[in-house]
């Protein structure tokens, strides 16, 4: 039942918007097509930024650097309450959504969804975004090359989310 509710959020939103607009005598279909056409133009601007970013991200993952950094960081992170098992998740989370979901799902099924590790992994996944992807999409679409402090500030938020996830799981589930 709950599953169905969440699945219906998207079609329901679209339906409500369309019905509301109709009562306001808006040319719903015309507006929809015009907006969608603009979307295509935006997409063309995103592609170059994504190609650049994904190339670098794939290279970084293949080089094995993330795992090496993870091994270095694990003992430090254990001190602040982050289980060493989730360190791998923490490092891929900002660069790849699919990879992070894969790592997270594996942690959850290996350690069990109600274990501390499983819960921490789930909370980390739920409270963060794929930072680099978001940055590439937004700045690509807006034609921005000088991103100033956006990346460091966004990474601060990610680090905070990871620490807070470990802390919140401890707090809520004791």
């Amino acid at each position: 039942m709950m599953e169905l509710c969440f699945q219906m959020v998207v079609p329901f939103t679209i339906m409500v918007v369309a019905l509301w607009a109709m009562t306001r005598r808006v040319d719903v279909y015309g507006a929809l097509c015009q907006g969608a056409g603009e979307g295509l133009g935006v997409l063309l601007k995103i592609i170059p930024a994504m190609v650049g970013l994904m190339t670098a991200v794939y290279m970084l993952r293949a080089s094995g650097l993330l795992e090496a950094v993870g091994q270095l960081l694990a003992p430090v992170l254990a001190r602040v309450g982050i289980p060493p098992e989730v360190v791998g998740l923490l490092l891929v989370r900002p660069v790849s959504g699919n990879a992070a979901l894969g790592v997270g799902a594996e942690l959850i099924s290996t350690y069990g969804p109600d274990s501390a590790v499983g819960r921490t992994a789930a909370v980390m996944l739920g409270s963060t975004e794929t930072t680099f992807y978001t940055i590439a999409v937004y700045f690509g679409a807006a034609g921005i090359h000088k991103t100033r402090y956006a990346v460091p500030a966004a990474l601060c938020a990610d680090v905070a989310a990871f620490l807070a996830a470990a802390w919140a799981v401890g707090l809520v589930f004791g």
Binding site: E3, F6, T13, V17, A21, R24, A31, L32, G35, A36, E38, G39, L40, V42, L43, I46, I47, M50, V51, T55, A56, V57, Y58, M59, A62, S63, L65, A68, I108, G112, R119, A122, V123, L125, G126, S127, T128, E129, T131, T134, I135, Y138, A141, A142, I144, H145, K146, R148, Y149, A150, P152, A153, A154, A157, D158, A160, A161, A165, A168, V172
Partner: protein
């Protein structure tokens, strides 16, 4: 971005060679470029759809309604765009979609706001634009459906019992992100 991108490439090549992963790095470079285009094509439909829905929301006054509701908070975060109705409308729609967990919808809506912001400072990210991006990289969704379905699949009876913890972590993360952006805006001022 130039420094970050070049840094990522140099680190991967140097570390990859040192760790004996050179060939993997070479293959990944080509694979990554292809995957990027594939990803863009998979998101094309949803992007166009939500840009269309946003246009309907705009013309019917729904976007303005949302915007009035969120105005007190958003004016503080984006003081430079207080008087720019259309940008505020787009940001409001972006925030609402994020809260509902409609990540696919939030992105095109946020992009519209980003494009309007960038029109004022071409090529360079303004403080408002940095704030918009930071708020979008720090997830604020109320119901993380994807994670819940993963937990359900792993045999969890109560996949949503992590909600309070997710909300706490999200709130901390958004707060730290906003704070970091505000503080860094001071230091970077000279280079804008």
């Amino acid at each position: 971005m130039t420094v970050i991108w070049t840094g990522m490439v140099v680190l991967s090549v140097v570390y990859g060679l040192w760790a004996g992963n050179g060939p993997a790095v070479a293959a990944a470079a080509v694979e990554g470029a292809g995957a990027a285009v594939e990803l863009c094509i998979t998101m094309a439909g949803v992007l166009c759809l939500w840009m269309g829905v946003m246009e309907v929301m705009k013309r019917s006054g729904l976007a303005q309604g949302l915007s009035r509701l969120l105005r007190p908070v958003l004016c503080r975060l984006y003081p430079g765009f207080k008087r720019d109705r259309e940008t505020m409308d787009a940001i409001s729609a972006n925030v609402s979609a994020n809260l509902l967990g409609l990540g696919n919808a939030a992105t095109p809506l946020g992009i519209q706001a980003a494009r309007r912001m960038a029109a004022r400072t071409p090529g360079v990210a303004s403080d408002s634009l940095c704030m918009l991006v930071v708020c979008n990289t720090a997830s604020i969704q109320l119901i993380p459906t994807t994670v819940a379905s993963v937990r359900l699949a792993a045999g969890c009876k109560t996949p949503f019992d992590i909600l309070p913890a997710v909300w706490l972590a999200s709130a901390v993360s958004v707060a730290v992100g906003i704070l970091a952006a505000k503080v860094m805006a001071r230091f970077w001022r000279g280079r804008e």
